[in-house]
Amino acid sequence: MLKGFGNILIKELRELIRDPKILLGMIIVPLIMFPVLGAVMSFSMESATQQAQKATIVVIDNDRGNYSAIFIRNLNATLVRVFIVNETDPSKAVSDGILSRYNTTQLLMIPEGFSANVTQNLHINASTTTYVKIYSVFSGAGLFEGIGSSMVGSSVTSFNRYFAPDVVSARPSTIIRGHIEEGIDPNVLSTLMLSQAIAMPITIMILLTYSMQIAATSVAMEKEEKTLETLLTLPMDRFAILMGKLSGSIVVAGIGAITYMVGFNYYMGSFTSAIPTGSGVDLVSLGLTPSPLGYLLLGASLFVTLLSALALAVILSAFAEDVRGAQSLVGYVYPFLFVPSLLLMYIDVSALPLALRIAILAIPFSHPVIASRAVTMGDYWTAGLGIIYVTAFTLVIMYLASRLFATEKILTMKLRFRGLRKRGRTPAEEP
């Protein structure tokens, strides 16, 4: 046994366990954070599946034969509600708003001659096949977007299993912004949009955590290295110190974000190039890439969110005595960054229960993720309202930060873990 090892080990454990920052950061936060993340993931999965199961489908039956009736009965067994409409043309049904009238995103069209073709397959020529067309509304809602059309697809499979293999095939198409894009499979589209569904939230998470660390470190460093005291005695506007710190952090974080996005884009590119795109899906021609206005709004949303995160980091770090303390304090904001980003990766915000939706919308860090989806789908209002909300939030935080910097309290303020109360050091406590 190494001489003195046991003694050192006991001392280390005592010191580490008694440090409230370590206790909170290493033990309590993960104990809360991971169950919350797990709950978020399973909630997203469940709600996407439930939505698909509860799905309503509108059916255009242009065949009106025996087998089309059987097919619809089979659909009824898989899906909760099936509405048969009199319209014959899917394009017209979509443009007339029939889908929103029945509150559904799925439309199925059984072509004329469906029953005749099935009969021919079963009794005369097994090589005769037929098809049904499935039209799904694409909303860019996340990784589970394709579940609805998959449910209809499985209904076709069960029909085939009952009668004959491959007698009916499903031909999926996508409805984008009220227009039918024939032959575009929503699943392929979802896969292609994967980089956006995952890359954007992850990029935002990393960009925000990274820049918050920079801002917090920069303020705490001034305190730790004892340079802040001198800075506050200089004939200058106190607000300039705050703005200088924020702007410096934004520039460094911006450079970091660009480098990161270039790298991440390359990384995602290596995946998407491996996805077979035989269907010839082209996101640009489908209008599923943001317009210049969309990019502008997305940039604005990212910028104001970044500013709000930095201002928050500056305020929090003002309560810390050193860099380590500042980083721990900023760490408490991370769950508010991770949970909405992960949730929105899988599910659309409009699909959440009201209370959860309000909670997610109240967190400013959700808005760039929401904006990235919205601008892709041409919904500039959502992005714009998000920007207004985050700007208001940022202004409040900036005001608080500027008030903090205007006083000398910034030198002496600190958060105490017992009771989390703020205190100023009195002269009697000075060393």
Binding site: E225, K226, T227, E229, T230, T233, L234, P235, M236
Partner: protein, 178 residues
């Protein structure tokens, strides 16, 4: 001038050197002086003049080009004292300017302060626990015990009045532990 109500005005005419002041680790000594000078100068020429003055005061020579993180404690203190005096303020408040320094650096810092007061008429308010240092540098002394001034005057006058060999003796007698 009311230091609370007119804090902005007061900051223009004073400089302050805190006891535990630090420097920016990744700036060179020269860059640090430039950064500080810009707050109190109007143009580039004036800044350059002030920084040159500071370089002369601190006497760090070519080491001013090196990053401050490579400096010893004494070098940092010399840089900071130069920073506090370089703009010739009406009042420079220096809190323990030589605490923790070795003999050579302490000697240099004291020499800087004495020379600057003499040559440029800057008033220095210096706080120190080192009574011998106080006696050596200061023209007027106030002895403070438990937050209150207990004796005040020129060093010679105090020594004579309290029959002390030096100011340390005087302090001990005034406070009553000798």
């Amino acid at each position: 001038m009311d230091v609370v109500r007119k804090a902005d005005e007061v900051r223009k005419i004073i400089t302050y050197l805190p006891e535990e002041a630090g420097v920016y680790r990744n700036l060179s000594g020269w860059e640090y002086l430039e950064f500080m000078a810009r707050f109190r100068t109007e143009n580039r020429d004036e800044t350059r003049g002030v920084v040159k003055e500071a370089a002369e005061i601190c006497g760090l020579g070519d080491r001013l080009k090196d990053k401050a993180k490579t400096y010893s404690k004494g070098m940092k203190r010399r840089l900071l004292v130069a920073r506090a005096l370089m703009t010739k303020p009406k009042l420079a408040i220096l809190d323990e300017p030589t605490s923790g320094l070795d003999v050579m650096h302490s000697y240099h810092v004291r020499a800087i302060i004495r020379r600057y007061v003499k040559e440029h008429g800057v008033t220095v308010l210096l706080s120190s626990h080192n009574m011998l240092e106080v006696e050596h540098i200061c023209g007027k002394v106030a002895l403070v015990n438990k937050g209150k001034i207990v004796a005040e005057g020129e060093p010679q006058e105090l020594k004579h009045k309290y029959e002390g060999e030096n100011l340390e003796d005087v302090f001990a007698k005034v406070v009553g532990f000798a």
